[in-house]
């Protein structure tokens, strides 16, 4: 009952005209960038972050979160009409969504994607509301050693799942830690890695790194090719976008599957919506009466991954808000946003800022309804965005990146840093280094170093403090196990090979 009271309080916050407007702007922008291939929510949130500094934090959080989950609704449009995923999590939607569109059922595919997103997105918010408060209460018992071990565990999971090569993911994370270490050491005032530049004494601004790696890296990658893909016609009229009763009946299990898988995967750091959508698609195919039809345009093949993709958002908010541990590049940027506004996500967040937490939860309910209303009748309008020529879009993104970075510090030095990080972002894409571990390493680097040093101060330099406390030892053990998992897999494969030969 206490939670219900807080939720009602949250609705009172989210339903103020000011916050409703920011929620609408967030979900609308999110849908637009979800529709645009090559511009993800991480890049958009990073670019818009500087503009939110003058805003009231609750409205700003509501808007940025709206961009995050709104982009997932929009991502399905390009997958279905263009066979090009608007973002990585929409890859699976291409399999059956595009095939449905080719067979003249684009409307039903877009409609079911919107309905699945709504159902699972709402389920994810319910999950967040139920899981976050008890988890935060549990985490209140954590001290510096537990926090350090928890961050090791989170980073290990992100590294494990971030890319094809774990070595490259680890290296990316270490580069992130190094960039975070630039500037003045808060304990001793020693300047580190400043290369004689006074501008670096305060460290590298998060906005510069995030915009450079995500936005510029993405744009340079997309600029490699000149032509865009050919789009199938978007259906017009609400009637043509509504799926049939048969479609809805066929998708009953897919809605549930997508919701559960998406939320659970979302809670785990590093897994993310792409993995959630692949797993839910796999489950749907495994339990289907007609698995051979998957990939030819079955409606469940759209509903399950789209649902998982959207339920993941609620799940991903759980470790972010209760433990202060982001699980992906986008949530890492949200964490940085919280810190820049003077808020500290963690176990005390719900207790200290109930208005913000419950206002955000309530706004996610409202945002999901807004997205359903926006997405069903306005899909033809959003599809028109795809006709925007890239030679107009990319200079605009690069321009807004420069302005965004300059607006934070008013320093041209940061625009030079932006160009350097843009090149780094592009090089990482080309060389198959995942960017999420770098951003996570950068965001967590400072907090991690502080937790490590505070722990060792507590123990007077004794490293066994991390293994003598049960919770810390368990998390460190899990982190080591995760990092060694590929070695176990390799050893097992060699053993099987030896036995069979």
């Amino acid at each position: 009952m206490e939670g219900f009271g807080y939720l009602m309080q949250g609705f009172a916050v989210a339903l103020t005209p000011y916050n409703l407007l920011w929620c609408f702007i967030g979900v609308f922008l999110g849908t637009v960038i979800g529709v645009l291939p090559g511009l993800g929510p991480a890049a958009t949130i990073a670019m818009l972050l500087p503009l939110t500094f003058k805003m009231e934090p609750t409205g700003a959080v509501i808007m940025l979160a709206g961009i995050y989950y709104g982009s997932k609704y929009g991502g399905s449009t390009t997958s279905i009409l263009l066979n090009v995923p608007g973002e990585s999590a929409s890859v699976v939607t291409c399999f059956d969504g595009y095939q449905m569109a080719r067979r003249g059922r684009a409307g039903a595919a877009l409609g079911i994607a919107a309905i699945a997103s709504f159902v699972a997105g709402t389920f994810g918010v319910v999950g967040l509301m139920l899981v976050a408060p008890p988890l935060a209460r549990f985490a209140l018992s954590f001290s510096s050693p537990e926090y350090f071990s928890l961050m090791c565990l989170g980073l290990a999971m992100v590294v494990l799942l971030a890319g094809k090569s774990m070595i490259k993911a680890l290296l990316a994370m270490l580069v992130g830690l190094w960039i975070a270490g630039m500037g003045t050491d808060l304990f001793t005032s020693t300047s580190r890695f400043t290369f004689g530049h006074a501008e670096l004494l305060d460290g590298v601004d998060f906005v510069v790194v995030a915009i450079g790696i995500f936005a510029l890296g993405e744009v340079f990658g997309n600029m490699e090719v000149r032509e865009g893909a050919q789009m199938l016609p978007a259906p017009k009229g609400l009637r043509n976008l509504l799926p049939t009763w048969r479609d809805l009946k066929d998708c009953r299990f897919a809605f549930l599957n997508g919701s559960l898988v998406g939320f659970v995967i979302g809670v785990l750091p590093g897994a993310g919506s792409t993995i959630a959508s692949f797993i839910s698609y796999g489950i749907e195919k495994a339990v289907s009466k007609h698995p051979e039809k998957f990939g030819t345009g079955v409606v469940e093949g759209v509903a399950a991954p789209e649902g998982a993709n959207n339920a993941e958002t609620g799940g991903a908010m759980v470790p972010l808000l209760t433990l202060g541990i982001p699980g992906s590049g986008t949530t890492a940027i949200l964490l940085a946003a919280f810190i820049l506004w003077g808020l500290r996500p963690g176990p005390l967040m719900i207790q200290d800022n109930p208005t913000l937490f419950w206002g955000l939860v309530a706004s996610m309910y409202i945002g999901n309804v807004m997205l359903l209303i926006l997405n069903l009748p306005l899909i033809p309008l959003f599809a028109q965005i795809l006709r925007l020529p890239t030679y107009m879009l990319y200079p605009f993104i690069l321009g807004i990146s420069i302005v965004g970075v300059y607006s934070v510090s008013g320093s041209l030095f940061d625009t030079w840093m932006l160009a350097i990080f843009g090149l780094l972002g592009y090089a990482m894409r080309k060389l198959d280094y995942p960017s999420a571990p770098l951003i996570l390493g950068f965001v967590l680097g400072d907090i991690m170093e502080r937790a490590l040093r505070q722990s060792l101060m507590m123990s007077q330099g004794d490293l066994t403090i991390f293994v003598s406390r049960p919770m810390s030892a368990t998390m460190l053990f899990l982190a080591v196990l995760i990092l060694l998992a590929p070695l176990f897999r390799k050893a097992n494969a060699l053993r099987v090979k030896a036995i069979s030969s």
Binding site: S165, I167, L171, T190, F193, Y391, P395, I400, Y406, G461
Partner: protein
């Protein structure tokens, strides 16, 4: 044949790791109050050297003759865009954002996308005016000004 890009990137990161360790050695490692500013960098520097060496070793050990090579023209377009961005950043101090961004957009639309000069100029000028109206006028976010004051 080893995957050259992995060997090269591994070598760069190993050099970075050595640099981090060298710098960290100049700072206090352990003091009377606990770990000093050199403690954490020393450990991630060592980890970086170890992992990049492992990356180089595994890349040399692997036969990756079929590894797809990036197309030079594609990489050229991306790096060309980056170079134009760098030129734009360099011009910000002298010409200010409005003029530098106009030239930047003009170059991209005309030379990287091959659109007619008139159309490219219209997009470039329109874009710069749009930025001025949106940021300077509507949002009150100052754009970088040049020697001419705008």
């Amino acid at each position: 044949m080893a995957k050259t890009s992995d060997v090269l990137s591994g070598a760069v990161l190993a050099a970075l790791g050595i640099f981090i360790i060298t710098e960290a050695r100049q700072w206090e490692y352990l003091g009377p109050d606990g770990p000093g500013p050199g403690f954490f960098p020393m450990w991630y520097g060592i980890a970086m050297v170890a992992l990049s060496s492992l990356l180089i070793a595994t890349s040399i050990g692997q036969a990756l003759a079929h590894a797809p090579r990036p197309k030079a023209s594609e990489v050229g377009r991306a790096l060309g865009t980056w170079a134009v961005l760098v030129a734009c950043v360099a011009l910000l101090k002298v010409l200010g954002f409005i003029v530098a961004f106009t030239l930047f957009t003009l170059f991209i639309v005309r030379f990287l996308y091959g659109e007619p000069l008139g159309k490219a100029a219209a997009i470039a000028v329109g874009g710069a005016v749009g930025f001025y109206l949106l940021f300077d006028v509507a949002l009150n976010v100052g754009l970088p000004a040049g020697m001419l004051g705008f």
